[in-house]
Structures are given as C-alpha cells and as structure tokens.
Symmetry: D2
C-alpha cells in the first residue's frame, strides 16, 4: 500500500445541530448507571447556561479534535455556550491549528503495521492517521509566528491569540477553534504549551535565536490570567472532557484566588466525562466529590460521567444546544478584560 | 429516612421508538475511537437483520434491566429483531420476571449507607435500589412453578417457558421479555440458571422435596439445544451486551456443533458492547479477533465497542429499529424446533 | 512458521513457597492506593486462616490457570489454606484437568495473526496459546467419564469428584487441583459447568444417548450443597480472584440459607482481586460494601483490590503461606459432609 | 473527629533495598498477562542499566510520592539508576518538596465526608490526607525562592535546581528527590510547572511584582534543554510510571532533535506502567507500538504494563536494584552539560 492509500477516508466533524439529543437525554434521566449520569451532567451544563452569573470554563484533554469533535467546540464558542477554554497543545495546535492550515485527519485502524507507517511518515492515534509531513508545516508555521513577535515572555493565551490573528489574516480555518476564539475575544489557555507541535516550532525559534532575546511561554502568566477571570466572575462552572493538566489547572484557580487574598466561590457547577479510574489515585479520574475536600468544587451540582468522550460529549452538547438557554447569553470578551485593563 | 423514602423514584425503561438514532450513528461513522466503533457495530447489526439466512443471538450480561434497558429487548423480540437470547439469571429472573410480577426498581445513589439499607431490606445495585421483600416473593413464585412441574431435568429454556406461561395465564407482565418470548416461541437460555433468584426458588423446591424426585436444571441440555439451533441456521450473528457466561456459551456453540460432527459456519457477524479490558486475559473483554483463533467468530463483520451499555445499547438498537430492515423478517419459532421435532 | 514453532515456550506455574512476600506486603501496608489495599486483603486472608471457626471459600474466575496460577491453588489446598472452591468450567476443566492430562499452555503474543492460528488449530487467550487438538482429547475424556456413570442428575461437584478419581486411577496430574481436591475431600463447584470443555464432552454424551437416560448436571443441586456447607460453618470467608458467576454464587449462599429458614451469619471476611469497574453496575466490579446492603458480606473485614490477578494473587498467597497460620488448620472434608450424611 | 484524628497514620515510603524482587520477577517471566509484562519491563529496564551508551529518562505522573513511592526514586538517583526526570508539579513540588519541608501525608479513606474535610482544611487524594495549611507554607516557600532570583525566564529545571539548593542550604529533605537531584546534577523537568503548588507560589510572586520584571517559567526552554541532552546521548531509554504530559514530552524529544536537524536515534528502550486504556485514543494509554509510528520509540525493547503503579513500580525497581547492573554506571551530570557549556 502507498501512503495515499492510507490517507483516504477523512475524519469528518460531528454537527450537534444536525440531531436533537433532548429526547435521548430525557429517557436516560429515568434510568441508571452512566446513562443517568450523562443525563444529569447535560442538565447541569444547561443550568450553567441559564445562570446569568456563571462563567463557563471548557476543559479539553485527549485526542478529541482528530476524532471529529472539533466542530462541537467551534459551535459552542460561536453560540456563547462557553466563556474560556483550558486545553492541551495537541488539541489546540496539532489538531485545530493543523486543520485550519487545511490539513486533515484520516480514518485508520489500530491493527496497523506501525513500522510501515513510520517509514511512510504517517503518525497513528489509535485508529486515525496523520501525515507527518503536514505536521512539520504546522510546527514551522508556529515558528514563523514566533519570529514575528517581540522577544518577551507570553502566556500561552497571548500566543494563541496571535495564531488566531494569523488565521484571520490568511483567511484560513473557517471551523477553527483558534480562529473563532480570536474573533470572539475568548481566551484559550494551554498550561503545557511546549508539549505539542507548538513546542517544536518554539524550540526551533529559540534554537535559531542563539544568544539573542527570545519569545518564551510563561505558564505562570497563564495561571495568573485565569485567576483574574475567576476573580471577575461571580460564579463559575466547569465542563471537562477528559482529565489531565486542563482539569487540574482549572480547578486550582479557586485556590490561586484565595492566595491572592481575593474572596471567590468554589466552582459552583462541574461535570466531567472520562474513562479514567479513581482507584489509582490519579488526578484524571479523581472524583469531583474529592475536589470538594480541596475547596475547589462545590457540592450538589457536580457529576462524573464514565464514558468515552466521542460518544458522550456530542449527546451532552446537542442537548444543551437544542435546549436553547444559551440564546440569552452574551460573549464575555475575557480577552479584553485581560489585555485591556488591570483588575 | 424510612424505607418508602428510598423507594420513590422508579427506573423507567428506554423506548427506542421514541427517538431516532440514525442521524447520530451516521455522524459517529465519520469519526474515530468508540463513536466510530459503535456506528460500525450498529451497521453490522443492521446487516444481520438484512441477511435472510442469519439467525440472531442476543447475549445479555450485567444489570441491564434494572437499569432501564428491558423494554429495548422486549421491542426487539416483538419486532423479530432477535431470534434467541442467552442471558444471566439476574436479568431474566431477578429483573424481568420480577418486574412482570409488578415490582419495580428505584433510583438511588452509590454513596448510600449500606448498613442502613441492609437493615431496611433494601438491596443496592450501584445507584439503584430493590425491595428485598419483593425479591423473596419472586423467589417463591419460581418455587411454586417448580412444584407444579413433573420432577425431571429441564433445560433453563424449558423452565423459562413455564415462567412465561405462568405470566400469560395470570395476564401479568405486559412488557416482560419472559412473557413475550413465550408468546413468540423464542428461546431464552440461562446457562448458570441457579445463580439467581431462580436458584433460591429451586433450592427451596429441592430442599422441600427431600428424598422425592425433584425438578432439576440441566445446563448440558441448554448447550445441546442451542447447538441444535446453530445446526439448523445457515448463518448466525451475535449481538452481545456485556460478556460473562452468555458470551462464552453462545460463541462456543460452533465448536459444539463440530464435536457432533455437523458442518456449521463460524458466527458470521458479531458485535459486543463492553467496558471490560482485554489485558487481563479474561473472557468478557477478549476481542472477537481472538475468538477467530478458536474458530468461533468469522473475520470482517465483527466489532467490539468499548462503552458502558446504558449509553451505547439504546443508540445501537434505535438505529436498527429505525432502519426498518427487520420488517422483512419473521419469527423463527425456535422453541417449536426444539420442542416439536428432532433434527 | 509451523505449529510447533508457536507451541514452544511452556507457561510455568508460580511457586509461592519460592519467595517470601511478607516484607513486600508489610511495606505496602504503610502506603496508599492499591498497594495498601492488597496488603489489607492479604492480612484479612491471614485472619481467616487464624480464625478456627472460619470456612474459606476460594472463588476463581478468569483465565488464571493457563496463566501460571494453578500451582498456587494446588498448594493452598494441600496446606489446608482453603476449604472449598467455586470456579468456572474453563479453569477447572479446560485448564486444570487439561494439564492433568499432560497437555500444556504456551507463551504467545496478542499481536498474532488469528486467522493463521485458526488454520493451525491453535487457540489464543490474550498472550497464550493452546493446541486445540489437545482440547478435543480433554472434551472426549469428560465424555468417557460421563459414559461410565449411572444416568442421573449430578451436581458439578459430584461430577468433578469423578474427574479427580479418574486422574487418581490413571495416576495423572500431580499438580492438579481437581486431583488434590478429590484426595482431600474438598468440594469444587462450577455453577455454569456446561460452559466449558466439560460442556462439549457432556453434549457429546447426551447426543449419543439419544432417547436413553442421560447424565445431566443440575446446578440447583450445587447451590443446595454449597448452602449446606454454609449452614454447617460457624463463619465463612471469601477469597475471590476475579468476579463473574463464582463471586455471585458464593455470596448468594447466605441468602439461600435464610430461605431454607436457617440462621447463618453473613460472610464475615471477604476479599476480591479484580480489574472490573463498579461504574457500569456489573456484578464483577460491584463493591463488597454494596454486597453488605444485600446482607451477604459483613462490614469491617472486607477489601477490594483493583489489580490484575497474575500480579496480586501470588503476593497475597505467598504472604499468607509464609505467615504460617494455616499450620493449625485441618482439612474440613466437606465432600464427606455432603456425600456421607444429611444435615 | 478533630483534625488531628484524621492526620494520624503517616504514609511511609517503600524501601526497595529491604526486599529482593528477583525471585518473584523470574517466576512472573514464565507466566502470562500482566505478570509476564511486568517481568519483561523489569528486564528491559535492567538492560538499559547494562547498556553503557544509554541515558535513562524516568517519567513520573500520578500521585506517586504521596502514596509512598518517593524513596524508590530517591534511591534510584542515589545509585545512578536514572539520569534525568520528567514529572508533574504535584509530584515534585506538592509532594516531594512538601515532605522535604518536613510535612507528611496521611492514610485516610475514600469514603470520607469531603465537606467535613474541607471545613478542616484537609485535602484528600483518594485514600490519603494532606494538611492544607502545610501546603500553603509550601506555596509561600516557592514564592520566597522566586523573590530571591533575578527576574528572568527560567526553565522549570533551573527553578527546581534553586529549590534543591534551598533545601541543601537549610539542610532539609534527607530523602528528597529535589535535593538529591541538585546534589547529583541530575535534571528534573516539569513541563506544566505552574499546574502545582509551585504555580500558586509563582502567581503570588508575579502578582506582587506588579509592573516590575518578574520571574517566569519558560516551558520551551525545558523542551530545548531536554533536546540537548537527547542530542548528547548515544541511546536513550524511557521508564514511565503513569502517562500524561511527562510521557508525551519525553517521547517527543526525538522529533524535536530532528527539527533542529540533529540525527538522533529513537528511544531504544521504553517501558510504561499504567492503568490507562488505549481504546479512547488518549495519550496516557497509547501503546509504545503506536509511538513507533511517530518515530519516537524503537521496536523490540518496549513494554506496556497494565497495573496500578504502587504495586508494580516497587517490584520493577527492586528487581533492577538487586540485579546490580547500576554499579558500573556513573552520574551523567546532565545539569553541568546544560548549565556549563553549549553543545
């Protein structure tokens, strides 16, 4: 088989507008186990959207966008269903920015000959394929963006804004999360930014700057910025797909605010979709009840859903979309808060 | 809290007719990971329904009916979407026959005080409650049915037929799987029949018969009967919800036929929804690819779906229902084959 | 590759006497997560061995003996570390009796070409191989044993006794669990007996008997027998490796005793090693705390260990072996209780 | 219960010297499933230690040190069994540096009343407790260290060196990984450094610096530094406990080197202990075979072990310790490479 034979069937993105999950979720609500948990989570999310005091933080971890979930997040941003995002570099750079550059992910199989793939420069994520040559172009585009910035420390949020600006100027990425976030003044934080295609591009930038001043990515600044948003939000709600750094980072912000001697509430609402287990003590599977002991998440409006995200997230998002409570919400323009004035 | 406060919110059963999963499944098919696997499984099941030579074996394990999935199976039987069932005693007796006797399951929480529940005679299954006093009535009803039978070895299938007859005569259990199976001549096999409420009833029967002849349940006879159906089916397909004994038993029947020197095909189609892991070598999570090495399942039309059943099974069944390929199928009346004539 | 190249590296059985797990378990006890749970489980098992009133039920599910855990169970029986066994047909017949007939399991790989294996008649269990031609001899040996018995319903325990007798007479199976159980009058119950190589042999027997009387396997009788042992034991403890039917069956016996109007205690001690999840409501992963709501397992001396069995079971068993509290125990000869006199 | 009653039983750290896992691992090697995988991983790690060209990268994720695994890593560093570490902020700051400040973790239970814990300022990690007041002192110590540094971007590695220096100067933390790494010139990278107690301290620092120049943490610099080590190592091996950012970051370095137009080999050896699943496409559970398609990990000397780390890591480390092949290894002093001269 040749490379082009592997890279044939494109992953297409799920459109939550094209089906109405309300009747399914309503039925799930009367049952048990994870169907009921999913229904409860969807309803909590809908309550966040109805609560005019609530800022909504969407946390994304796992290979979500390469798996067809990118348009869901795009549509959530477009319709003011979310106010800020905390994510991984893989999702935001390798997958979203990558597709904005008009590259694609392809359907494959976990029973691949990985040695053959390597020789053809095809990267595998479980049952999907990526053309590694395209990834390198993505890396270099990040490098180019860095080269054009003033040498200074940036938060990942600031840098991602410049990536969005780049897309807008080139008029690329109609369904890109990076681009629409830029256009809607919605912050995206990636606390481990260098752990991605962006990292490759920025390493390349720093390496070539030699002893000259460099663009650097200051993850402390991210934390400070997210804390400022928390301080400026009466209530907050977390919608977490997967765990990892985004989950921990977003939860921690209530403690960070306290350390700055600001009085803030715990996250009032919190839902998480994950397959991680709690029994190994890891953060990704730790319960939201446990997060309450840390003073991070309030009790009563929190729900874990034990399900793989590609199945559960579209149902949750479609439910909330079709309920329509987002229609009364406005863009919170948190980028303006962070870039325009001090608190 | 009093007992009645715990037993308040009834579990209601999902109606796959009330929502159409086709647009969701079609979108899942273009993606990756388990959403795509679920779409592929749903389409394989639909192909089973379109293949006029194929007899469909539904395997059920896990607390499915207490969790609201009972009506799905009832509707599948009613609409000739399945030709025989292999299941556990818990599902068929403690949950289906139990609800046919007009008892209910209730929504609860995994954070219960289990000692308090025990003292109130409330049994917990994760986040659902059962009134143990009702379960005892279910046990004794099974015992009564046994008392009225001729003392002899029965297959579980034969005994379950008598349970269906009992319900029909009392006109109980409008949505009961046991009853509609009886009415449609559809065999239900429970290879570990005594491991359930039926076991309690039958132990009571045998204990009280003392030295007299007793009703006994011969699981070898079940195996022989299922093998006879296999031998009389040109092709077979497996729809497995959960793993356990039902999965193994139904897969094994191709080998059993061979041992009787009958030439049969492997199961041509096979799908399984499970959260079990393959990495511990257990049967429940073992792949259908592995089953091919045993000569049990053919290659090409098999699919594992790693998802909790309450979420995935309703989507799969609703997809197949709304596709409508079952409309050309007829009841295979396998009970008549087994009871009426020798092969 | 030829068949013999696949079947080269024999699985060898772990010898718990050859290493002393006490220092590891003592260290684990001071830590957290599953290491601590494993230590706690090992200590509860050791307490069972020290409690002279306690009868110990070992429950075995999963492909344990093909994976090298057979000698552990053999040695536990030999040293009066267990008083009865509830297991699956796969373990007792396809794996133990099979090896007693001088066949072997072999190390393989999960990345096998399963079609090639099938054509060579090699069966795969995750990363192990079995010669299917040998399995057929095992099936036929069971059939031969059945042919020599009086046609009547037997409990699986009774039938397995005859299998042990067969081995003893042929002087086969020095490390066989079936044989040593026979010699030590220790009952083995397999509630889903036909779901195994035994099933193939017995189906062959019944098929060939045509209209004549047949040997049948009455799983109700098993349940009644196990209940009699419960009634005759002041206290009981469960050591469960994996879940499935053996777990449920052994737990249920307290309820069965109640139904026969016998006053018995709940299982006083209970430990389980499993990788199953509780969040899908399935029995295998259901907590022992949940079992308390059913009145099956007492509180305070129960422990779930979330670990794959091949790693955790040898450590638990080696700990208890080297602690030596079994030295004061005697064989309970429960087969004599069941076969010799009525209670 | 009062706070001091909760914080009573200290977690004690496992000492791999105190038991010899060689006989256990040798027995596991002859079996199947995860016991065999663990044996194979232990032997691959031992081969890394024997290969004089190999630099060993230890990746740590999950709540490992609060669970008693800290001394294992300390002893591995002391005995030149590892050459650099990639980890999470939680492990390095909240757990290691925290205990170096003479605070402790305590044994608790997952069935806690989390609201009561919150009110007492006790934080829970599954079955362990932490005094949150102590954590705040840890945060402020980090802040103090930052206040004493020149305002500039630092890699996390550089900052952690200053933390080690702090401990040495105060003569605190005899078993601290941060301290011994400082003393042995061994680099520790924490790519998501602000996602931890360090983040709290540094946010406090930056907040109080207002418009003045600040200490910032540049994760790109970390990536560049790790890449330099890769370029200076003939071969590399990965020992990964858990997944997350450390796994990805360390694997990626082969690609980063390529981008800098350096010719490097893939990681020659790689083992991972994790309970994460591969079927959701997430990075933590993705196989090392999959990593080969990306050109990150070579084939033939890689092994996944599906086990909870508290059980498997002590066995793996004790095996390698007692094999003694580390005795011929010397400290690689990679901090000197990074800080002393350019490559």
């Amino acid at each position: 088989m040749e490379k082009k034979d592997y890279l044939k069937r494109e992953v297409e993105h799920i459109d939550i507008k094209s089906f109405n999950a309300i009747p399914i979720i309503e039925q799930f609500d009367k049952t048990a186990f994870q169907a009921r948990n999913l229904a409860r989570a969807a309803k909590i999310y809908d309550r966040m959207l109805s609560d005019k005091d609530c800022s909504i933080i969407l946390c994304l971890a796992g290979s979500l966008f390469s798996a067809g979930l990118r348009k869901i997040v795009h549509d959530m941003i477009e319709n003011n269903m979310v106010d800020m995002i905390v994510s991984t570099g893989a999702i935001i750079v390798d997958q979203d920015f990558f597709e904005a550059l008009e590259f694609k992910h392809f359907q494959g199989t976990p029973q691949s000959d990985d040695n053959e793939l390597m020789e053809m420069m095809i990267d595998r994520i479980y049952d999907t394929y990526i053309d590694e040559e395209h990834l390198r172009i993505c890396d270099m585009t990040v490098s180019e963006i860095a080269n054009n910035l003033e040498a200074a420390p940036y938060s990942s949020r600031e840098f991602i804004k410049f990536m969005g600006k780049y897309l807008k100027e080139k008029d690329m990425g109609k369904e890109s999360v990076v681009r629409i976030s830029y256009e809607k003044n919605l912050p995206i934080f990636v606390p481990a930014f260098s752990d991605s295609s962006a990292g490759f591009g920025l390493v390349y930038h720093q390496w070539n700057r030699k002893d000259k001043l460099k663009v650097s990515i200051d993850s402390v600044k991210d934390f400070l910025e997210l804390t400022k948003i928390k301080v400026n939000s009466k209530e907050t709600g977390l919608v977490m797909i997967g765990g990892g750094v985004p989950k921990n980072f977003a939860q921690d912000v209530t403690v960070a605010a306290e350390i700055l001697e600001k009085t803030v509430n715990m996250h009032k609402y919190a839902v998480q979709i994950t397959v991680a287990d709690e029994r190994d003590g890891g953060l990704s599977g730790s319960t939201l009840k446990e997060a309450h002991s840390w003073g991070k998440v309030d009790e009563g409006s929190e729900q874990m859903v034990f399900s793989e995200a590609t199945i559960a997230f579209p149902l949750l998002a479609s439910y909330a979309y079709h309920r329509g409570n987002w229609k009364k919400r406005k863009s919170k323009n948190f980028n303006t808060l962070l870039d325009g004035k001090e608190i």
